[in-house]
Amino acid sequence: MPDRAVPVLDVKGLKTVFRTRGGEIHAVNDVSFHLGKGELLGVVGESGSGKSVSMMSLIGLLPSPPADVRGGSVMLNGRDLLKISEDELRSVRGAKVGFVFQDPMTSLNPVFTLGNQIMEPLIKHMKMPKKAAEARAIELLELVGIPDAKNRLSAYPHQFSGGMRQRVMIAIALACDPDVLIADEPTTALDVTIQAQILELVKELRQKLGMAIIWITHDLGVIAGIADRVMVMYGGQVVEQAPVRELFANPQHPYTRALLKTIPAISGPREARLKVIEGQPPIMTAAPTACPFRDRCEYRFDTCDRVNPPRRAVDGAPVGQGHDVACHWSAPALAALSEVAHA
């Protein structure tokens, strides 16, 4: 189903800086990735890792100032989104790229009916007449599993529960048949049973519509169930990238390895004590000149303080295509070290 050979989105060397009163914050540092047709890319990281900011930079959703996208290219179907005008960008957003935000409570306008909000992109971007837009809105609501869609068009957001609102948000994002759907923690604010409903819906929609999806989350459990490929971010950088099964079976970066161990298991043997990553994530006040994870890394050595490790291939495929990691240690060396440390 996903076709990696046909890239929908190709991002290279993206850099985003926030200018604040306290100085600059380098939120995104040289982020590169690509997204194949119909592929679901999971982006994992803690708060402040730059995962949301990098995706919002792609389509110019960050207010400037304070945000400043300093460099890189974002190719969407052959056009560089960082070079086109604000008007063109506006037509890309909504029509070519759909966005679903974390909080379904605040991302719908409380004073307009759902029908109004779903029809808006259809009328604006697709220049649909009102009647056709209404028919399409009903179709969309049915697509995302809202019963009695026809009568729900005149309802207001407050009449819907959280899970239902997130369905509506997805319907709006899908309205113009986007090539790429960016979902920023779309299930984080929802309860587990409702989360399961939404994940099931997204899987179904992928089968039906075949769009590419970028799924931003801090929840490795969600990623394991839904992603084709995963990109792990830390300190505004991509520290590891791999197909989902490969990443969970064979994590390379010390951060990824530690992260996978801090989560308690829901089945299987119960750990006596949780593994801890000591310390705090860094605040990037300057462009990185050393490994951003070094302060919390068990395997730090002198090179880590001097050189920011570039991404290198783990499995022979070119960086970005297969499994790559940004760490000075090679896998065998790291394995030997961790055996010594845990012996």
Binding site: H218, G221, A224, G225, F248, T262, P264, I266
Partner: protein, 351 residues
């Protein structure tokens, strides 16, 4: 088994917490939000009871009602031999040092204008007549216990990260040597790598000071890690109360089963093969709960009796309590699976 064990530290009997709804121009009392509707459980000294459920199920309300942060509608809450629900104000004040709370949002539960030392010593100001030097000594002791550097004593909450703020909240809760602490979603607002730090700290403190926890959370994997027994709540009632391992390996109540199946496992291989139970619809409003069993509107195994009769929480195996007609003697003793037979007949007629 139960008789042999010592008397539980916390005994909750038929706890009810209703919030009145007033409507119309005369603000007449027109109904109640039954946030907690008849909840009973015990917590042994030194034990951690996990309380799980989805938002709106009443789990936080139970935690707050236990410490009498609300005036309880009905029921008994015996903590260390005294019924907290009916204590007069002065006696309640004397009781407060034994029972404390750690809140979800360390940002909102710490006064931004107070220094760390003042925040932690506030309970001491209220409940002791110690002089300043002794109080400061205690503050330092507590900061050491929760892993905060003594140098930070004069800093303000905004200078700390989320995980450190939660440590401040824990230090404050420990100030008066409590026996019982209600932890209300203490890790929900923290990053994954920080959650483990706080949970390990809570476990260390429990061991060191012999604390008893009610650990309220929606994170079922973390509850499996920290709790000895787990109560699953749904719409103001306990659906199942079981020892941890029993519950996670074989949940009995259909809601507990669905809830556990919905947890996302960080393992793509297992995620691909695992069978999930996807519940239909949303949780009904606690102001207008369904007739019969609260879960009957979403239950995949519902039958006629569920829609008319509310199942009581019964012991179905030693130590395991379930509120479900499927496990009732009456249903089980009758023609086994009678409801399913009925359904099949109906389908047969339709065909």
């Amino acid at each position: 088994m139960r008789d042999a064990s010592p008397k539980p530290l916390v005994q909750v009997t038929d706890l009810k917490m209703h919030f009145p709804i007033y409507s119309g121009i005369f603000r007449r009392h027109s109904g109640d939000v039954k946030a907690v509707d008849g909840v009973s459980f015990d917590i042994q000294a030194g034990e951690t009871l996990g309380l799980v459920g989805e938002s709106g199920c009443g789990k936080s309300t139970v935690g707050r009602a236990l410490l009498r942060l609300y005036e309880i509608t009905a029921g008994k809450v015996v903590i260390d031999g005294e019924d907290v629900a009916s204590l007069p104000p002065e006696a309640l004040r004397k009781k407060r040092p034994t029972m404390q709370m750690v809140f979800q949002d360390p940002q909102a539960s710490l006064n931004p204008r107070m220094t760390l030392a003042r925040i932690i010593s506030e309970p001491l100001d209220e409940h002791t007549d110690w002089n300043d030097a002794r109080k400061l000594e205690r503050v330092y002791e507590l900061m050491d216990a929760v892993g905060l550097n003594r140098r930070f004593a004069n800093r303000f909450p905004h200078e700390f990260s989320g995980g450190q703020r939660q440590r401040i909240g824990i230090a404050r809760a420990l100030a008066l040597n409590p026996k019982f602490i209600v932890c209300d979603e203490p890790i929900a607002a923290l990053d994954v790598s920080i959650q483990a730090q706080v949970v390990n700290l809570l476990e260390d403190l429990q061991e060191r000071f012999g604390l008893t926890y009610l650990f309220i959370s929606h994170d079922l994997s973390m509850v499996r890690h920290i709790a000895d027994r787990v109560a699953v709540m749904y719409l103001g009632k306990i659906a199942e109360l079981s020892p941890r391992d029993a519950l996670y390996s074989l949940p009995l109540h259909p809601y507990a089963e669905a809830l556990l199946s919905a947890v996302n496992e960080p393992d793509p291989v297992r995620a691909a093969t695992r069978k999930r139970i996807i519940l239909k619809g949303d949780v009904p409003s606690p102001a207008n709960p369904p007739l019969g069993c609260n879960f009957s509107t979403r239950c995949p195994r519902v039958f006629d009796r569920c829609r008319v009769e509310d199942p009581a929480l019964r012991q179905v195996e030693p130590g395991r309590f379930v509120a479900c007609h499927l496990y009732d003697q009456q249903t089980a003793a009758g023609p086994t699976g009678a409801p399913e037979v009925n359904e099949r007949n109906q389908q047969g007629e339709l065909q």
